[in-house]
Symmetry: D2
Amino acid sequence: MAPTKKAGVLGATGSVGQKFILLLSEHPDFELFKLGASTRSAGKPYKEAVTWRQTATIPELAQSLIVVDCKSSEFADCDVVFSGLDADYAGEIEKEFSEAGLVVISNAKNYRRVPNVPLVVPLVNTSHLDIIDRRLKAADAANLPKSKRGYIICNSNCSTAGLVVPLGALIAKFGPISTVTVTTLQAISGAGFSPGVPGFDILDNVIPYISGEEEKLEWETKKILGGVGENDTFVPLSNMQVSAQCNRVAVTDGHLECVSIKFASEIKPSIEEVKQALRDFQSEVQTLGCASAPKLAIHVLDEADRPQPRLDRDRDSGYAVSVGRIREDPVLDFKFVVLSHNTVIGAAGSGILIAETLLGRGLL
Amino acid sequence: MAPTKKAGVLGATGSVGQKFILLLSEHPDFELFKLGASTRSAGKPYKEAVTWRQTATIPELAQSLIVVDCKSSEFADCDVVFSGLDADYAGEIEKEFSEAGLVVISNAKNYRRVPNVPLVVPLVNTSHLDIIDRRLKAADAANLPKSKRGYIICNSNCSTAGLVVPLGALIAKFGPISTVTVTTLQAISGAGFSPGVPGFDILDNVIPYISGEEEKLEWETKKILGGVGENDTFVPLSNMQVSAQCNRVAVTDGHLECVSIKFASEIKPSIEEVKQALRDFQSEVQTLGCASAPKLAIHVLDEADRPQPRLDRDRDSGYAVSVGRIREDPVLDFKFVVLSHNTVIGAAGSGILIAETLLGRGLL
Amino acid sequence: MAPTKKAGVLGATGSVGQKFILLLSEHPDFELFKLGASTRSAGKPYKEAVTWRQTATIPELAQSLIVVDCKSSEFADCDVVFSGLDADYAGEIEKEFSEAGLVVISNAKNYRRVPNVPLVVPLVNTSHLDIIDRRLKAADAANLPKSKRGYIICNSNCSTAGLVVPLGALIAKFGPISTVTVTTLQAISGAGFSPGVPGFDILDNVIPYISGEEEKLEWETKKILGGVGENDTFVPLSNMQVSAQCNRVAVTDGHLECVSIKFASEIKPSIEEVKQALRDFQSEVQTLGCASAPKLAIHVLDEADRPQPRLDRDRDSGYAVSVGRIREDPVLDFKFVVLSHNTVIGAAGSGILIAETLLGRGLL
Amino acid sequence: MAPTKKAGVLGATGSVGQKFILLLSEHPDFELFKLGASTRSAGKPYKEAVTWRQTATIPELAQSLIVVDCKSSEFADCDVVFSGLDADYAGEIEKEFSEAGLVVISNAKNYRRVPNVPLVVPLVNTSHLDIIDRRLKAADAANLPKSKRGYIICNSNCSTAGLVVPLGALIAKFGPISTVTVTTLQAISGAGFSPGVPGFDILDNVIPYISGEEEKLEWETKKILGGVGENDTFVPLSNMQVSAQCNRVAVTDGHLECVSIKFASEIKPSIEEVKQALRDFQSEVQTLGCASAPKLAIHVLDEADRPQPRLDRDRDSGYAVSVGRIREDPVLDFKFVVLSHNTVIGAAGSGILIAETLLGRGLL
């Protein structure tokens, strides 16, 4: 069945853009239609504009697409635009696009903290897309033209995406979590390619610092797991404490996070109940039958030494997360390890799933 | 000045034994006198018995020493014996040595939990050696022969050694710590060489599990930071909660640990006071002027992205620890990162410093 | 279409065996039917017997297959048996299997040098399988029972497999090559898992030695590119000099080899002709339409810095080789870099392609 | 004994400059006197200007030195100036310095091919410094002022430095070598720090290309091993063929090179004679007693699997090279593996040794 929706990609030559192109190139619903990049690249066939750094070759379809400037007029025919832009450019460009009536799904951090912009990890809080639903219905009622119907949806920071999936699953089953501590061991692909993390800094080494990452992880978690308040603005959880320590390690892909949690309730589930809740967890992308939805949102691994980035990051093509080493914590209630593919469910893949959810809900 | 004390090394061909030999080969106080290994190696010159895997070449002196069996009779002339034996062998052999009147400083785990065996991290709890002092005085009083004056002192697990140094420094200044959470990123040299961690398991990967490590880290910390009770037996802290998550990463040497702590007292120091306490910290090995004592026990690093294993593990030749990223913790009181050289201060070097302390106290 | 031929795997729990199982688990022609391993594993479901170390999960089908002993009686119903046995065991077991009438395709080195055993790199010398054809016709003529129709076919050493593909292509087009020098940079997966290459030996390091590898590379190349002589025995090339230097590098999968060649003829092709010959090269597995045959046997890469193991090893699912940096050589005629996936076309995948060729020729 | 000569460093904040500072900070002959860097850094204390990336901490002395602009007027008091400038800047600045009468020892490539500029690998061709000797004598005779006595000496490319040491030793003993093929496995520190080789390009990977490296290796080898012709200009060897293939591997420090050679003479030495010639090799830096000269210029290693970068790069503090795996070559005469520390003997250390040689000869 041929794709029915036209998709654009902003920042198409960057690392996130390249991943969007890979994921879209054989997508059943979306047709790779427009590629936007810097003025330096505009006018060139994509093949010549890009320094391709993926393990799969450039999709045939993308090779000869002529790169265009990141202006909404170039993307007027697109049903959805995926943005892999750097934060330096995303702010202005995504604004211009949404104000021109386009639907922008962004991997950039710029609008994540805006109160009425959904910050969505698709395995967790697609319910936040309800405000889009209401907004479009209101637009229908007001008979607004297409140019007034644009909006931005953000996906989360890559390390946040892995963390909130088991948190969301556990909260859904056992109620509020009061305390979360998380130490991350993050892959270098999260820092992009040019130059990203210098080889001399990461070989035989760990870098115990990623600029801005801990703040993002601590803050975004609360918005994603939070609710919707007055005027359809999001209200981050105020009664959950989150403490993050972030490290870069010599891994190409796959963020591993060591997590401890405490439930708010005095009545604690057993370890077996925790495992079962994670195994049973289902997200809207699965019930909607989204094309990229993982069969299993959370792979619960029983082996003592799993999950491991190299061995487990590609489960369900990187759209699932893996959780292992679930055990009691002498300080909080439980501790466990979660692994997520930082460039799939933690970045481009998350954007794709958001678009698939919009489509599945009839909003695209 | 020529060394005055004769030293033996057990498990001399293993990874810890090799490090003992390197550290002893140019030591001002100890003479490398006897090398013990398995029966398979006994009788061979060390050079032929060992598969040397250090970055420095085999010390001249050691090359032609004939390896002997691990029997106390072979080591009768040694003033001190350093044991780098595997746990499989250490139990029996170290017992036989100490019962024959020898002083054994062991890197093995076998006797660490024995109530009257000191478990010593030399930058932290050399006060635990007081019981040796008292025991030897009692032996003098009773006129006991040398054969009744043997004993075992254990150094800690490598990941414990890094953790307890800042903990000890902070407790010394600000009183008890009630809660510690720690996530480790440990180097592969901690697992030895043959085979140690398989390359295929660690390249482009993290292994979120080290057998028995979390238990050791949680338990040993409490004994080391605890006190001495009745009958000169050690009493682990009972009012401190410790939770550890241990990971193996692709680093050759240097354990990095992300730590969060909460003080027992309601009155908290400021970040600057915490930093100053760490900077000012002095241990007995320094005041005694031990040959291998670091100039600075704790290097407090102010750069945002330090300590890093490759860049900081060799500070003070690996006998110091480095602490960085000291900041407030939204869940507990403070969080920071500590780095220690796992084969120096975390293993063989720790044993050397213990022996130097005994010597400095006049106990050898 | 359901598979029509029953396949067995020997050494099923080892690294090559695991790869055979992955490749066979969704194969259109072969049904994974029997798994043989050591007596220690026999009787257990495969899932329990194996320490699985692949990036894909254990195929459903294999998980519950009961592992059997490596005895021909257990494999009597198999149409073909793939052997991933270690050389220590392969000699005896493969002999027993072939003498019992079974078709054994072996990854072990034991029988590679036997004059009437084909040593086949399927992209290069499937013509060597002609002797099997003749042997089976003779068996038909003599009305031999199945038990007299067993035989062994060997695939080559992993580093040989990559080298001979471009050599074979160039010889096919431009005639004999008189001189080959090759320096390899080999991945650690070639050494297996338990323990394989120790992590401490390969992190931040190169090991400029692989036991027996240079001899294999030099010798096997001559047999594979050689012809068939009297009595259907293979005659290695005598007029080609090959010199190999083999290194192990910190790469998980993918052998990269820097090659220089000199043609025997005084008349030399141009660089463009060399490239074109490589691009145009077609092997029998492609013309037969074998299920796993690569679309392109040789990917000729024009970028200055390719092929690279991480980026190019999976082209055509690892069944193709990549050649780049083709240029004139100041010493010999041409130099270039070839990359091959050492566990696919360099090991298990090669075995599969050999079996597919037999099937395509009607010999299975 | 206090240093007697004042030394300047150009490009002091870069990777080569940092190494110069480390090596000079405790040098018996040279005092670290002036540090030059870009205008952006000028005026700042070195500690604030640099992003230090060495495993040793910034030398006390250097920390508070105020960085100056790279103008000869700032360096007028220096007896020697070491240049770690990037090629983009080295051309103009080094020219200005030498024309102002300063002695410049440069690690940049800009002047290496100039016929009357010595290109010196100090373990090999300090004889090329004779032209400096003659030039200064002529200046004396002509009573030239200091401002007319400046000159530039270049050290070689890092991969060249390792190769020519055994070549030079063998030629000195057995006469001309007609053919050299070399495949390199080069460390990433050779590419500098900011950014140098991106981590994402080198983790789990090899890059079979380093821009301009093969040309340098092929050409420089011929100049270094060549002689001095008319008018004191250097004449590269014309009768030696060199073919190089260069690769970047995941190693921090230490270039490993797989070399094959053919002697011009029909009479070949034996392998033992080759080994002995390498072991016996002495260079002028050793006979002059230069402060940084290695005890042994060439460490000949007999173990089958050595030299290895991590284990052997620091022999003689990185000022020696290691050669192993010496064996007959089926194509040329002999093959072997050579390892050199690319930032010591392959870069900054080479510059230091050149200056020490000038000093030892009374030319500074």
